[in-house]
Amino acid sequence: MLYRLLKSVRLGIALILVITALSLLSTLVPQGRERTYYQERYPPALYTVIMTIGFTTYFSSLLFVIPVLLFTLNLGICTVDRMVRQARKKADRRYGPDIVHVALLVLAAGGLVTALARRESDFVMAPGEEVAVTPRSTIRLRSFEYLTYSSGMPRAWISTVDVMRDGALETSAFPIRVNHPLRVDGVSVYQFTWENRSTFRFRDRTGAETTVPVGGIFEDRDSLWYFADAVVDGGVWKALLQQYRGRKLISTRTLAVAESLGGYTLLGVTQKLVTGLRVVRDPGFALVIVGVVLLGAGLALTFIQNRRESTVSP
């Protein structure tokens, strides 16, 4: 009885309709925001319903996962059943739809592996810096370029890297761009973002020079000065400083070149473009590729067979 239900095409179509309807509704509710976002925008009753059924993270909620698992089970049983019937046939065998169904199962498996095991990490690099992307592989940034069109719109962000494996140079000067990731040792490295890294050069009371990056601090009697950012004020770069006493923010001020603060004189502000890269390890990658190829092949075969039959039939 249960097996008959699970291999029913009617169940498959019903599940498609359920997944479709709920997915549509989910697009009306912005996903993955803070609880307060929904609290402020929806009436209390609707807010309670949305939060209770997990509609704010619909695609990882049971409301989505259970119908999709049921549909995958239904599709698997239907596929095996159909393939057994096809094998018994002497003529008029149509393998295209079977390959499409198997491809969808492989894609579902790939999606599951990806959902459970995909890992990503982001990091920022300046030229000359190195980052280990796997236990055996390291990338060293040679240069980072930010190219623009004459209109000022971004044209390309290019991080040129050397790849070292077990300490030996494996690939030299590989350009990582958007749409051109580096694939190495089972991970992919993507051009993800960029930023301006500012550093401040100071001379202290003794006449010695020192540099401080954004995020750096220096002590001045009972206060702590925090380098919050570099800002352009009146056409010149200045350091944006926050004064703390304990954990309490006391004041905020800017400091221009040649100005002094607590015995420190700002000598210069240096701007350097740094690249933001994302490393992704996705164990589901191979399965998804196999699924995609099978899906393409199955659709092509179905299409060709349909064409042949419609041409042959009167």
Partner: protein
């Protein structure tokens, strides 16, 4: 030159729609001799617009809504021309005006202030062959869906059994032809592009969700017919729902919902 081409194409499609309507209402069974040639001419002009913009931006011009609408209208015109040339059934006389009106509506929207026409080279995320395959194949698949929805409407509206049967057959054949192209273009190549650009196959963005919904509706449409042997009204209704979903995916998501696909 591009503006002249686009405007001339709009006039040609409008004239084609007018001639088809007049012949349908007044001349009964007689087919007009020119409207499909007007569609072909409009298609050539619109492809010329695409080519000229592509040369200017040094990339296939399918990277914003205006360019997408021009390309989509061109493919629909070509589908209309092919429909008239290769299908001699009486139903195709009723279906072609529907196809032509959709092309006219889309091209009219491209001329509206809602759709900016500035020529801008693609930002880094759009500089991908996968994007070009994704967009072009998705629209070619959707052009078949335009034929299917026009045929579905004729099926539901027609009284003569012969016309209804022919319309039903054309609606099904169009979905069967468009479905694999749409699947490969919209879903497979779209996912591959997302993986190559951002390292994720699928991010449940509203546009992706609506594309999947469109695909699911057409999947249901094919399965109700091929497996459950349900023809006629249910197929026609699903073809109409599928097309409504296609149009919402294109316009609704861009204008009403927040999406990563805001550029086109």
């Amino acid at each position: 030159m591009m503006q002249v081409f686009a405007t001339t194409a709009l006039v040609l499609i409008a004239a084609s729609a007018a001639v088809q309507t007049v012949f349908l209402l007044i001349r009964g069974e007689t087919r007009d001799p020119v409207s499909h040639w007007a569609l072909l001419a409009a298609c050539v002009l619109l492809f010329a617009v695409t080519v000229e913009r592509s040369i200017l931006i040094r990339f296939p011009a399918v990277t914003n809504m205006y360019e997408s609408l021009v390309f989509f209208s061109a493919v629909i015109c070509l589908a209309g021309f092919a429909l008239r040339l290769f299908l001699k059934s009486a139903a195709s006389r009723f279906i072609l005006p529907g196809v032509t009106f959709v092309a006219l509506a889309l091209l009219s929207i491209s001329s509206s202030p809602l759709v900016p026409r500035e020529i801008q080279p693609p930002i880094p995320a759009l500089q991908s062959l996968w994007l070009v395959l994704h967009v072009t194949l998705a629209f070619i698949g959707e052009a078949f869906f335009v034929v299917s929805v026009a045929a579905a409407v004729v099926f539901l509206a027609a009284r003569r059994e012969e016309t209804r049967a022919a319309a039903d057959r054309i609606a099904y054949s169009s979905v069967a032809a468009g479905y694999p192209i749409f699947t490969v273009g919209a879903l497979i190549f779209g996912a591959v592009w997302a993986e190559v650009a951002w390292g994720t196959w699928w991010s449940w963005d509203p546009k992706e969700t609506w594309s999947l919904v469109t695909w699911l509706v057409y999947t249901a449409c094919l399965h109700t017919r091929l497996v459950k042997r349900l023809r006629g009204t249910i197929s026609a209704v699903l073809a109409i729902v599928g097309f409504a979903s296609t149009i919402f995916t294109f316009f609704g998501v861009n204008f009403l919902l927040s999406s990563l696909h805001g550029y086109g």
